[in-house]
């Protein structure tokens, strides 16, 4: 096995194990920390695919910022009483189970029967695609419109957050 394959299996095992721990732990802080570990191993998987930019953004944004806010909220609300978090099976959960089963079947179908459909040339181009320069270039030329639309979406979210915070202050 090459070093890359070893790294892949290691990171994949860690990411699956930590994902299972996220949904099985009763303590919300422990769950959140396993989610951070999961993000970390995903970042590592991106690195093995030469997607350095995505890997570092995964850690910077998800592990470094969003999960810190999650932890912040969990600690402030002090959700220590894990018994109160025991949930019942609802319609929404059943729908979730159905959707994830469908997704799993889809992945099995693609990996099992349609691998030959993937263009072989794209894989070897991984080295250049993952760099910051390439992503920036694509983002500001081919994908400029979606990029700008996203910024409007974010602006709307910021205005919404300010409105929500203001209402409580008044």
């Amino acid at each position: 096995m090459t070093l890359q394959a070893v790294l892949f299996y290691l990171l994949a095992a860690v990411s699956i194990a930590s994902a299972i721990m996220v949904i099985t732990r009763r303590n919300p802080v422990t769950s959140a920390l396993f989610l951070v570990l999961n993000f970390f191993s995903l970042g590592g998987l991106y690195l093995t695919l030469h997607a350095q930019f995505i890997a570092v953004i995964q850690i910077l944004v998800y592990a470094g910022a969003i999960m810190v806010l999650f932890l912040f909220v969990i600690m402030l609300l002090n959700l220590g009483d894990s018994q109160s978090l025991r949930e019942v099976i609802s319609l929404r959960k059943l729908a979730g189970v159905g959707l994830s089963t469908a997704f799993l079947l889809e992945i099995i179908y693609i990996l099992g029967f349609r691998v030959s459909d993937f263009p072989a040339g794209e894989v070897t181009r991984g080295l250049e695609i993952g760099t910051v320069e390439y992503i920036g270039q694509k983002l500001f030329t081919d994908y400029l419109f979606p990029f700008e639309i996203t910024s409007i979406l974010l602006l709307a979210a910021i205005v919404g957050a300010v409105v929500m915070a203001k209402r409580k202050l008044d």
Partner: protein
């Protein structure tokens, strides 16, 4: 062979950092004593040089106390996260130009990655977990308040830090730290070294202030403000685990200084050094020494600030971060981009 070179570099850098911490703590104590018109520790060894060694031995011998209602695994994990983050950040910083040894050219940088600066930002953003978890897992209200303060503070100042760097990235056109340093070895108007401190003064000041906040140093040491929070996030820590937090704080200080030197003060560049006519090897050594010297100067400034300025109040800290630093860094990025576009 590559693995051997890489592990040697890691060992040398780690050993250098750990040794510097020992002296840094002593320098800090002696300098604070000087500022406060005291004598400071001078009993252990000549000039008190072995004071830090005595302190380390004391910390090692102390009993490890975990509060009864604490979350034991997380209480143990928090200092480990802090120290791991502090140790890994330095990996991408170039501490010298390439050096010729036994016929092979060795780059004086542990990891030469495409995303240099982003790596630093990503790793430092994880440091907050150490403090937050320490605060929460101790099951003590002062610790919790310290932990919450640290997460709010670090998230707020991370933004200004990242945005301040954008000016530098725009000038260099790359995220690679070695290229950023290389760009600074040129001269402006034929005599002034093209260091980013001269080209990006606003970015330098805001980045430096944010670095103080990120390392939890006075005037931004709200997470451990003694008069109000006992000891802040590390109130319930003793012995070696407390020592790890202490070590992490000083290592973070060294790394922060190294980043400031790399981004704004020309890194290993010694102006007019090529006029000395040194051979390749001697020049490389001189450059490494220059880098270390610059770090020492920044560290002394760090320490002098700590013992000169009073602590911010919490609301002042937040309004400085969000209402002054953030707009300032945004404006700096905008102006830099406009100027680069115009010329």
């Amino acid at each position: 062979m590559d693995i051997l070179i890489a592990s040697t570099k890691i060992a040398v850098v780690l050993a250098a950092m750990l040794t510097s911490v020992v002296f840094l703590v002593l320098v800090e104590r002696r300098m604070s004593a000087f500022i406060q018109n005291r004598i400071g520790p001078n009993r252990v060894g000549p000039y008190g040089l072995l004071q830090s060694v005595a302190d380390v031995v004391k910390l090692l011998m102390k009993e490890d106390i975990v509060p009864a209602k604490a979350n034991k695994p997380l209480h143990d994990l928090a200092p480990i996260i802090s120290i791991a983050v502090a140790m890994t950040t330095f990996a991408v910083i170039p501490f010298g130009n390439a050096i010729e040894l036994f016929g092979t050219t060795i780059k004086l940088q542990i990891a030469d990655v495409n995303i240099g600066i982003l790596y630093i930002l990503a790793i430092t953003s994880l440091g907050v977990y150490g403090l937050t978890l320490a605060g929460w897992s101790s099951n003590n209200k002062y610790s919790l308040l310290g932990g919450l303060r640290s997460s709010a503070q670090m998230i707020s100042y991370e933004l200004s830090m990242g945005l301040a760097i954008i000016g530098v990235i725009l000038m260099a056109g790359t995220l690679r730290l070695d290229v950023i340093v290389e760009k600074q070895t040129e001269y402006l108007l034929g005599w002034l070294p093209a260091w980013n401190i001269f080209l990006q003064p606003v970015a330098f000041i805001t980045f430096f202030i944010a670095a103080f906040a990120e390392t939890n140093r006075l005037p931004f040491d709200l997470p451990e403000a003694e008069p109000e929070l006992v000891g802040g996030f590390h109130t319930e820590y003793t012995g070696l685990k407390f020592g790890l937090f202490f070590l992490a704080e000083y290592m973070n200080m060294i790394t922060a200084s190294a980043i400031v030197v790399t981004l704004f003060l020309g890194g290993w560049h010694l102006p007019y050094a090529d006029m000395l006519g040194l051979s390749g090897f001697a020049l490389s050594i001189l450059q490494v020494l220059t880098f270390c010297g610059k770090i020492v100067l920044v560290l002394l400034f760090f320490i002098a600030i700590r013992w000169t300025l009073p602590r911010f109040r919490y609301d002042q800290l937040m309004s400085l971060g969000w209402k002054v630093m953030l707009p300032l860094t945004l404006a700096n990025a905008l102006v830099t981009a406009l100027i680069l576009l115009a010329f």
